[in-house]
Every structure is written in structure tokens, then in C-alpha cells.
Symmetry: C2
Subunit: 161 residues, 2 copies
């Protein structure tokens, strides 16, 4: 009667309302224009300065992008669900987690970037560690992004697990 998508949407809403799904939110001010922050993510020549070592192509709505992390010999695909130029990027990765990057231009040379990752399940045994690892990753990436955009630094790949 209902398609698989509709049923999985209802399941998602049910879990969400019942408090089994949680999100992680991190927010930072970067003294660069919203366009410069946006391009850092979507332009594959820039990502290696602050996050993954490479991104397979320019991020656009509907595309599947392969991200590599040479230092850990790891790679994974993300699906770009939504792009609003200089304002918003939404993608899906991992175990059906949804990441939303929102840019709010404070003026022509500074931007608040907010990253939310949605889809953590309170019933998972390692739920708290998943949230903490995830928080660590986003705070680290955003600070590396700030260092790259404001000063041209490369601070990535230094977290020790």
C-alpha cells in the first residue's frame, strides 16, 4: 500500500518523536564571506586544506561524491541532497545520517557556519561515544576550516585516536 520510502519516513518520524534519534550541532564564526566558506566545501581543490584529502568532483545537488582520507587509507561516498548556493548544503552519509551545513552571512566578510548531524540512535550500545566522536570530528574540521580560510594554515589529520 505504501512505498518503502514512505514507510521508512514514518519510521524515522516515529523514532524522532519518541526521542530515539538525536543530533549533534556545532557552530563557529569564520571571518570570511559566505561564498568563500561555501566554495571551501564544494570546490574539490580546496577540501585537502582542512578536511578530507580529496573529493571526487564539485558538490552539486543529486550527485554522489567520493571522499578520501589518505592518512587513514579510508574512503566513503556521500549523497548531496540539497544545495543552496552560499547558504546551505545537505548530504547523507554513513548509516543514514543527514548532515546539514548552514551559512549565515553576518556581513560581506564574516559568516556563521552551523553543522548539524542527525540520526544517532539512543538504543545503540555505544551511543554516547558515537556522539562524542562525531562532535570531536566536526569541531576539529570547523577549526581547521577557520585556520585555512583566515590564515592559509593546514591543521588537518592531527587528531590521535
Amino acid at each position: 500500500m505504501y512505498s518503502k520510502q514512505v514507510l521508512s519516513f514514518f519510521l524515522y518520524i516515529t523514532l524522532k518523536v519518541s526521542g530515539y534519534l538525536m543530533k549533534n550541532l556545532t557552530k563557529m564564526k569564520i571571518v570570511k564571506s559566505a561564498n568563500e566558506v561555501f566554495e571551501a566545501f564544494v570546490d574539490p581543490s580546496k577540501i585537502g586544506n582542512f578536511w578530507f584529502s580529496s573529493s571526487s568532483e564539485r558538490w552539486e545537488q543529486g550527485k554522489i561524491i567520493t571522499l578520501r582520507y589518505d592518512e587513514y587509507d579510508a574512503q566513503g561516498d556521500i549523497k548531496v541532497l540539497e544545495v543552496e548556493i552560499n547558504k546551505k548544503i545537505v548530504f547523507k552519509w554513513g548509516d543514514d545520517h543527514i548532515v546539514t551545513i548552514t551559512l549565515e552571512a553576518l556581513d560581506t566578510s564574516s559568516t556563521i557556519i552551523e553543522i548539524t548531524e542527525d540520526g544517532f540512535n539512543k538504543n545503540d550500545d555505544d551511543f554516547i561515544n558515537q556522539l562524542l566522536d562525531n562532535k570531536e570530528g566536526w569541531v576539529y574540521m570547523l577549526t581547521c576550516l577557520k585556520g585555512y580560510l583566515e590564515y592559509g594554515d593546514n591543521l588537518r589529520a592531527a587528531l590521535v585516536k
Copy 2:
């Protein structure tokens, strides 16, 4: 029969063993000597480049140090419990939380810094948010420290709450 200190130590061990107290651990590689990383914390002229805006005096074992955060018009005291030059700093702050900073020199120009904060209580209503906020703070500070020591940049006071 027992002193207050002894009883509170037993309470601490009981809570610890029963899993009610948890810690947050964050670890990063910094391409500077252990002495340069150590001095960044204990020398009050350096802290304003990566963490608090000021530190009242040089950190030494037994001292109480006042740390100010001008941007949030906030300040607090820490008690330095232990200092091992270029290797370890232990202090107490907040609600009896113990912070241990450990430096491991990989060679003469690179160091692994590990920070552990101990004393979170699983019974607190906002236990998970306390851990996440704490993780955010340590990852951010360590990345700012890396940016300061390796590039001379100042990335602090940009997290938005």
C-alpha cells in the same frame, strides 16, 4: 572515625567503579617540542593566543590561578595539583573535575598532547550535553593551540553557543 577527605575519596572510588563517573579524552599531534607545548600553558603571556584571554600567573604545583575569558566576561579559578616539567599538568576546576594534560615527546620537534577531564556524573540530567560541551571545548582549544604554535595564528573565541 574517617576524615572528610578519606570519606569523599571512598565515595569517588565507589562512583567510579560503579560507572557513574566518566571522563572525556582528546588527543592531538602538534609539530613542536614538548617544552614549547608545556610553556604555552604555564607561561601567562601565551594563553591569550589559543585559550583564555588571561592567566593570573605562572602555573606551578599548589598554586591557585585565575583564568579570565574577556569575550564572555567570565572568570574562574583552577588549582594546580601537579606539574612535571614538559610532561604533565594536573589541575582541578569547576565542580571538582580533574583535568590531566599529558605530553609525550615523539622527537625533538613533535609532541602528542592528551587531555583528560574526569568527574562527569551519569546521574546528572544533562550528562550527555555536559560531555559534548566539554568535548567541544577541548577539541577547539587543542586545534587553536596547534594553529598558534605551528603558525602563530589566533583562532580562539569563535565558537558560537
